[in-house]
Symmetry: C2
Subunit: 371 residues, 2 copies
């Protein structure tokens, strides 16, 4: 059992055994009404954020986002997925407000099963709720040797202004793709269509950190570096691409790609036309591709490894900073966290202890006794 580093102690970081943390989160979801197997799937999806270092989408959202969804009956812990249309390779699914952390996994499994027959399969889902890290579900596809793609809109949530608009109409609209890479970690793109997702703004606000220029701007387009300005409504989140001259229309266009694929296609809530204005009836676009149905799977995997090998071995500007690809740093973080414990801030750990008290559960014990 490795103890926390001196730097971590100074920052008030604790480390928790990954499997113990998943078990605890599973118990929390079970107490909130999820069937145990489903709770375990949702728990891994949520802890994925902390495991891979994407802390904006991890356990920090348990008390902020997921438990309130049950309190307000905006998520139904026992809802089943209903297949509304079935064309073999393409399905329309009503998720009846099932927890997105589970339903996105179930939708991907369904797509994988159908892609194994048809080569490609699409599961288009409405009445969804938040799924957390999109990359968790696509990485699951890559673990099966498939290509996984997942996009989710933000239901009726309106946070971002289209270029030239004086009102927000769209959400951050994340999407992800993952591709297996032979012996290396999967390539995983997992991105919002804004410069950063809102979770990173709020994480900076919680940590009392300034944010870089380019994330937020005020009404006049001037950069804002105080993350609190966002929730005060004094600053707007910027599109990927930044200014119009450097591609903000591409970030906006990508957001509409997610809005149309994920929400328009199945008939979920659309941000720009929503009167509710909140993130209910989210739509998911889940696509799986089985390369082995088109050509020899072994050739595909070998060529994938060659592709990503070439990137890893590229001549670096700074040899101390080798070239990497999306998914690699997250896999490194996960390996380290599996070996030495998942790092959580002391504040987040205190939140989990409070959840444990409320539900009469035992919170996990930090490794190395830092508390």
């Amino acid at each position: 059992m490795t103890t926390a580093t001196t730097a971590e102690r100074a920052q008030g970081t604790v480390r928790l055994d990954y499997e113990r943390l998943v078990d605890f989160t599973t118990e929390v979801f079970t107490r909130r009404g999820l069937p145990p197997q489903r709770a375990a799937i949702a728990a891994r999806a949520l802890v994925h954020g902390d495991l891979t270092g994407v802390t904006s989408h991890g356990l920090a959202n348990l008390t902020r986002l997921y438990l309130p969804l049950f309190d307000d009956e905006r998520a139904d812990p026992r809802a089943e997925l209903e297949i509304v249309s079935d064309r073999g390779a393409a399905l329309l699914v009503d998720s009846h407000r099932a927890l997105g952390l589970w339903s996105a996994h179930a939708a991907m499994d369904l797509a994988l099963e159908r892609a194994a027959t048809h080569g490609v399969a699409l599961v288009s889902l409405y009445n969804g709720t938040h799924f957390g890290c999109a990359g968790h579900f696509t990485a699951h596809a890559a673990e099966q040797g498939a290509i996984g793609f997942l996009a989710g809109n933000c239901g009726g949530q309106r946070i971002i202004r289209p270029p030239g608009a004086a009102e927000p109409l769209l959400g951050t609209n994340p999407f992800s793709i993952a591709v297996p890479v032979g012996a290396h970690p999967a390539y995983v793109l997992d991105m919002s269509t804004t410069v950063v997702p809102t979770g990173r703004i709020r994480a900076a606000a919680r940590a009392g950190r300034e944010i870089p220029e380019g994330w937020l701007a005020d009404d006049a387009g001037r950069p804002v570096t105080d993350p609190h300005a966002f929730d005060r409504g004094e600053a707007h989140l910027q599109w990927l691409g930044g200014r119009p001259q450097t591609g903000s229309f591409k970030g906006y266009a990508l957001s509409l790609m997610v809005e149309t694929l994920a929400a328009l296609l199945p008939g979920a809530e659309l941000g720009p036309v929503s009167t509710a204005g909140r993130d209910d009836n989210i739509g998911f676009f889940t696509l799986a591709i089985a390369p082995g149905r088109l050509r020899a799977q072994a050739d595909f995997l070998k060529e994938s490894e060659e592709l990503f090998d070439a990137l890893l071995n590229a001549r670096a500007v700074d040899p101390a900073q080798p070239v990497r690809y999306p998914g690699w740093p997250e896999a490194q973080h996960a390996d380290e966290a599996r070996a030495h414990g998942v790092p959580l801030t002391a504040d987040l750990f205190a939140e989990l202890e409070e959840v444990a008290r409320d539900l009469s559960l035992t919170a996990p014990t930090p490794l190395g006794g830092t508390r």
Copy 2:
């Protein structure tokens, strides 16, 4: 017949009847060995750039890119598409170096035909050549009431450096999606994964214009505004997202999405592992979705129109600059060009006249007699 405006005359712009321009381009391709029907399809794809105002991907590339492909036998004008694997909803196709301006259209038609049965269909293609404006082919899907997605890598071409790399390994890797929007023009995203495609850098160089900061940077990361620096090898094209803090890793990640979907999946040439280093054996990823196989097509179209209506009617910062969506300005440009002639620079028109002389064809006559 409308005459060119005074401003256009001053800039040396001529206007040509759209159908006459397509016929002329069809004759050029026919003379270069394409069967007439195929030549007509390729001609519309090429003129699409000028018709919609995306001049970097229009007729300017006839003498720079497409005719040399035939001269060097890098494109085969009569090659047929060969279906190598067929899983109903997913196909692997060897295009045997057929002209991409035609083969991308044929691949999309094949995907549309299969999607009409299966709801979704994928055509994965290798041995492709340049297809020009990706949005031309996805817009064709939208005209049929379907969602079209097309991505193409750049074969072995290596132009862009991965973040932290001291050597270029990837191409600009364009992709496009189009969605039908009821009574409005289709929503069409058509983007490279860099801030701009190389065509816009070269168009600025030809026009003798400086480029905005953010498109190119030198070895030290300093912005470069001289477009000629790119082809001199003194400046590097930047990823969408700009700096690492503002999302350059997302542009890089999107480029790898295109590289894996378009080229790794079918086994086409991969930029990072290529020894040829040029844009042969391009891979295409062609996906079509038939919304009407999942739910009522009329409901889908009605809700699409509502979605894009809401964007068009958004409160604007400047009422003189109403909010638009990708595909709208291009459709406006096309309407205007169909009514009053497709605008071409006098230099480009002179190139077409030279092509006409070389092939003993008659070049189109400019409308309004500006020459």
